[in-house]
Symmetry: C2
Amino acid sequence: MKPIVVDAFGGDHAPKEIILGAFLAAKEFNLDIVLVGKRHEIEKSIEIISKDFSSNLAQRITIKDAPTVITMFDKPSVAVRKRNSSMHVGMELVKHDEASAFISAGNSGAVMAIAMMVLGKLKGVSRPAIGALLPTINGSVLLLDAGANVDCKPIHLLEFSIMGSVFIKHMLGIQKPKIGLISNGSEPGKGNSLVIKSYDLIKSSALNFYGNIEGNEIFSDKVDVAVCDGFVGNIILKTSESVPSIIGEFLKAQISKSLVYKIGYLLSKPAFRMLKKKTDYAEFGGAPLLGVNGACIVSHGRSKAYAIKNAILKAAKFASLDINTKIEEAIEKCSALKYIQRGVENAI
Amino acid sequence: MKPIVVDAFGGDHAPKEIILGAFLAAKEFNLDIVLVGKRHEIEKSIEIISKDFSSNLAQRITIKDAPTVITMFDKPSVAVRKRNSSMHVGMELVKHDEASAFISAGNSGAVMAIAMMVLGKLKGVSRPAIGALLPTINGSVLLLDAGANVDCKPIHLLEFSIMGSVFIKHMLGIQKPKIGLISNGSEPGKGNSLVIKSYDLIKSSALNFYGNIEGNEIFSDKVDVAVCDGFVGNIILKTSESVPSIIGEFLKAQISKSLVYKIGYLLSKPAFRMLKKKTDYAEFGGAPLLGVNGACIVSHGRSKAYAIKNAILKAAKFASLDINTKIEEAIEKCSALKYIQRGVENAI
C-alpha cells in the first residue's frame, strides 16, 4: 500500500503529537507514512520521538517539505491560495498517486476547500460532504453533512445518503445501513421545505430509508446514517458535543461541595472514565470527506497522538477498501439521481 | 387579576397531575383558576385532591366544560377543527377577557394553531413563535423559535429577536438582553443564506445584538436569547434534551457493573440530584407562545403537578406584566421592521 500523508502542521498539538501519532500508526499497522510540513521542525521532533521506537521504524517515515501552515483562522478562500501549505502539498501527493490517503487535524473548512481544488469531486457527485462518526448508546452514527454545505437542495441530501450508506457498509460492515433524515417530526410530511422534498426523493431510491428522525433519535441507534444540510449538521455536532462538558462542569462544582460526594465520585470514577472513552472523538478517528476524489480524513483539532493514530488507520482502511470507487458506482447506479441530473433539478 | 385557564386534558399525566398543579398554584400564589375539560372527570379528580387542601381554596377553582380532548397525535390542522376541545374552549375565555392567560401541557403544535385561530396575532407580528427557556451554566437562555415556523425569512428572525428581548427583559428583569443568532460560525458572514441576511437586519435594529453564536455556545451564558428558525430550534431542543439521558443510561449500565461503583454513586447521588433539578424542565415552567394575542404557555408533555404549578405562575406573571402590549410597542418602534413591512420584504 502506498503511504499515508499526514499533515504535521494541522491541529492544536501539531507537530509533536501528530508526529508521535504517525510513529504509533507506522508501528502498529505496518504503514508507510509521509509527514508533510516544515522539514526542519519535523526533523527536530523526529529526533526526539524516534528514540522511543526501533530504528527500522524510522525508515517507514519520510518527510515532504511544505513551508506554509494553514491556521484555524484562515478562511477557506484564503487557504486555497497558499499553494505551499502542508495541506496543499500533501494532497498533491494523493492526486499524483504517490500516496493513498491524506489526514489532517487542521481547519476542516480549509481541508475541504483545498481537497475540492486539488483532488476535485468524484464522478457524479455535485457536493462533497463532511461525515462525522459519533458514538450512540450501542454503536455509532454517521452524521452528514456535518458542516461543508450550508444551503442544500434535495439532490444533495440524496447524494449524502448514498455516500454515507457506502461508507458505513464498507467501513463498518453493515450490509444495509439505515438512512435517517433529520427533521422536526417523525411522520412523513414533517420538515422544512428542503426535508419534505428530500424525503420523497430518498424514499424513491434503493437505499434502506428509515424515514425522518428527530433530534432525540440521532444517538438512539435507530439509524446508521443521519442526513441533514451542513448548517443543521454543524449545529447538531457542536450542541451535542457541548452538553456533556456543561454537565461535567456543573457536576464537578456540585461534587466539590462535600467530602462525601468527593469520595463517592472517586469510587465510581472508572465508570465515568468509560463514559469519557465512549464519547471521546479520539476513539472514532476522524471525519471522512465524502465525495472528493481521494481519501481524506479530518481529525478533531484537539487530536493527540492516539487520535491521530486512529485517524491514520481509518484513512488506510478507506483507501484500501477503495470507498471512493464504490461511491462512484453507487451514484452511477442510483436512478433517482440520474433522473434529476438529466435536467429536472429545479423542479424539486 | 382574572383567573388563569388550565387545560386539564393536556399532557401525559392529565387530568390528575394537572389539577393537582392547579391546586398548588391557587394555594401558593392566591390565584383563581379555571380548569377546562370534561366536567365530570374534573369533578371526580377534584373530589379526591381537594381533601388535602383547605375548603376555601376550592372556591378559587372553577370548571369550564369542554367535551373534546386534543391528543399528541392530532395534527394541528385537525385540532383546529375540534371546536369543543379543552384548548379551544379555554382560549375563548382568554379572548373574551374572562381569563388572563391559558396554559396547556398538550400538543404544542395544536396549541399554537388554535391560538392563531382563536386569539390571532399581535399587531405587527407576522409569525408567532414558541420560546423555550433552557438552563445554562449560570442561568438560562430563551431559544426561539423552538418549533413553530419551519421555513423562515429574515424578517421573522428579527421579529423573534424583538419578542424574545421583551420577554426576557420583563420576565427576568435583564435590562438589555443579549440576542444571539445561531449559526455555524461566530464571524459575521457565516451561516446559511437565511442567517447571513438576518444578521445584517438584526444588527441594524436597536436590539442588543451579540452576533452569531455556535451550537456549543447556546448554553454558555453568552446570550439571553438564541434566535433561529423553528426547524433548527426544534432539532436543537430535542438533541440537547436527549444527550443527558443517553449519558445517564450509559453511566447507569457502567455503575451497575461493580458494587464499589454503586456505593460511590450512592454517596455522590445528591450532586446528581442537583443536576437533575437544574436541567429539569419542571423548574422552568413552560414555553411561552410569543406573538399571539393572549398569554399562552405550553408546558412540557411530561409535566407533573410541580411543573404545572410553575407554568401557571409564569402565565400569571406574563399576563400581569402585560408582555403582549410591550411586544406590540417594541415591534411598532423597530424602524428596521417598518422599513421591510413597507414592501421590500422580498428584497431580503
